[in-house]
Amino acid sequence: LSSHKAIDEELFERLEELLIQADVGVDTTLRLVDDVKDEVRTKGITDSSLVRPILQTKIHEILTTHSSVFELPKTSPAVILVVGVNGAGKTTTIGKLAHRFKSEGHKVILGAGDTFRAAAIEQLEIWAERVGVDIVKHQPGADPAAVAYDAIQAGRARQCDVVIIDTAGRLQTKTNLMRELEKIGRVVEREVGEEGAEVLLVVDATTGQNALSQAKLFSEAVDVSGLVLAKLDGTAKGGIIIAIAAELELPVKFIGIGEAYEDLRDFDADEFAAALFD
């Protein structure tokens, strides 16, 4: 882009290519590039080096419509429910969140709400042990809503102020599994109220347009309050979160940049927008 001297159709095509290759998707890309064209026209801009900053600003605006700062609910305990499709990075993200809140002085307890997948409970148990927090679990095949309920009760009994609940991966088109998730969400809401829970949808940064459908359908089942964009340490740009922000106004709260429990960062819209051009 920097070598392109004139503001012409070719420049805008290159912008489209960049955004589409970043998984921003066709609709959002065309909308963004049209907005940039409008601004260039109305402001009479002729310097092509000004185009990229204009685009970055528009992306930043979309991404910051809602706050990307994660607010721990003021209830005691605060509950974080972690949801998403299979293999997205939920269980690992919970390890990271547990470490983050513990190191900020909170007392954290985990709920092993994936009672379905092979060794899911053992996987979360290892994270609990590594981070140094308690975990509530039932036997495999147990009702995940019951695990969620027990984790919140145990959290209260042990004076924990943060309860993080893991759930089984599920494809958003599986209505029976989404109904199961609704039930878990209702149990949580009944226990700590709407204001007492944050629901984080974990999205794999390598995911393409399907992430938009994931965000829509998961939001219909539970009150998704934010996204975690995991695996951003790969080469995928995760641009789909721009489309998700534009269409559903869901903010990204955290990014995952590795497999260790320190590999969690607060979402930074400026850094993200700039990284699209790397």
Partner: protein, 292 residues
């Protein structure tokens, strides 16, 4: 959908002479959008639409079809042909054991696919051995052991303190001693840009010379599928791909991108979380799915 959009652009007259340059240009604009929305890689879409343009312009529109349907027919055939190929089954070694290594990004579905593949092979009369070569992910070994127990298929493990290369070597020896004719190596998920871990895969390859190296790819992968497949292929010269989570509604354009860029066949489609959820890959079905 694409058919309706093309009907609107190209009109409803059937058998209307030859497809003009303009007809094809209009149609390809819609095809291009459909493919991009299906996550096909941007560059692959350009190359693909160029091929279709060559084939389509001047073609006689068949009496029973509208120009729109004619173009779709060409696109569908080109897609199916591109993704097809005869090497789409698992080729076994002339002398057992056949060694199969599964590799890919984190969370793609390798461990589950290894178990599914073992299940399939056992139903075909083989004696598979599953190998727990992921020593990094918490409870990865346990995960494979639980799946092996469910299937009553043996899982070879040396715990998580031994290197995956040594585990692979020991597993092959074990297979020889116990008459297992297929060895399935489940490896840890890794980034294609993680030099150390990619070197580890090459070291396993070097040590036991797998007859089949299968790249496991999530069907919902976006534009980055090309980078991932290219890197794994350049590093290991993969034999084929397993495309997973096709029971979702991702259009799966990554399948076209990967085949177009590496030339390697997609051998299996994983279509459920259950252990019987692995089928041969059908390129025509995938073509319709991608076109939406």
């Amino acid at each position: 959908n694409l058919a309706e959009k093309l009907q609107r652009t190209l009109g409803k007259l059937r058998g209307r002479g030859k497809l003009t340059e303009q007809d094809v240009k209009e149609a390809l604009r819609e095809v291009r959008l459909a493919l991009l929305e299906a996550d096909v890689n941007y560059k692959v879409v350009s190359e693909f639409t160029a091929r279709v343009r060559e084939r389509a312009v001047g073609q006689e529109v068949m009496a029973s079809l509208t120009p729109a349907h004619q173009v779709i027919k060409i696109v569908y055939e080109e897609l199916a042909e591109l993704m097809g190929g005869s090497r789409s089954k698992l080729e076994l070694a002339s002398r057992p054991p056949t060694i199969v290594m599964l590799a890919g990004l984190q969370g793609a579905g390798k461990t589950t696919s290894s178990a599914k593949l073992a299940n399939l092979l056992r139903k075909q009369g083989h004696r598979p051995l599953l190998v727990a070569a992921d020593v990094y992910r918490p409870a990865a070994i346990k995960q494979l052991q639980v799946l092996g127990d469910q299937l009553q298929i043996p899982v070879f493990s040396l715990g998580d303190q031994i290197s995956p290369v040594d585990i692979a070597k020991a597993a092959v020896e074990h297979a020889h001693r116990h008459a297992n004719d297929v060895v399935l190596l489940d490896t840890a998920g890794r980034l294609h840009v993680d030099e150390e871990l990619m070197a580890e895969l090459r070291a396993i390859d070097e040590a036991v010379s797998p007859h089949q190296i299968l790249l496991v790819v999530d069907a919902m992968t976006g534009q980055d599928a090309v980078n991932v497949a290219n890197s794994f292929n350049e590093s290991l010269d993969i034999d084929g791909i397993i495309l997973t989570k096709l029971d979702g509604d991702a259009r799966g354009g990554a399948a076209l991108s990967i085949k177009a860029v590496t030339g390697k066949p997609i051998k299996f489609a994983a279509t459920s979380e259950k252990l019987d959820g692995l089928e041969p890959f059908y390129p025509e079905r995938m073509a319709s799915r991608i076109l939406g």
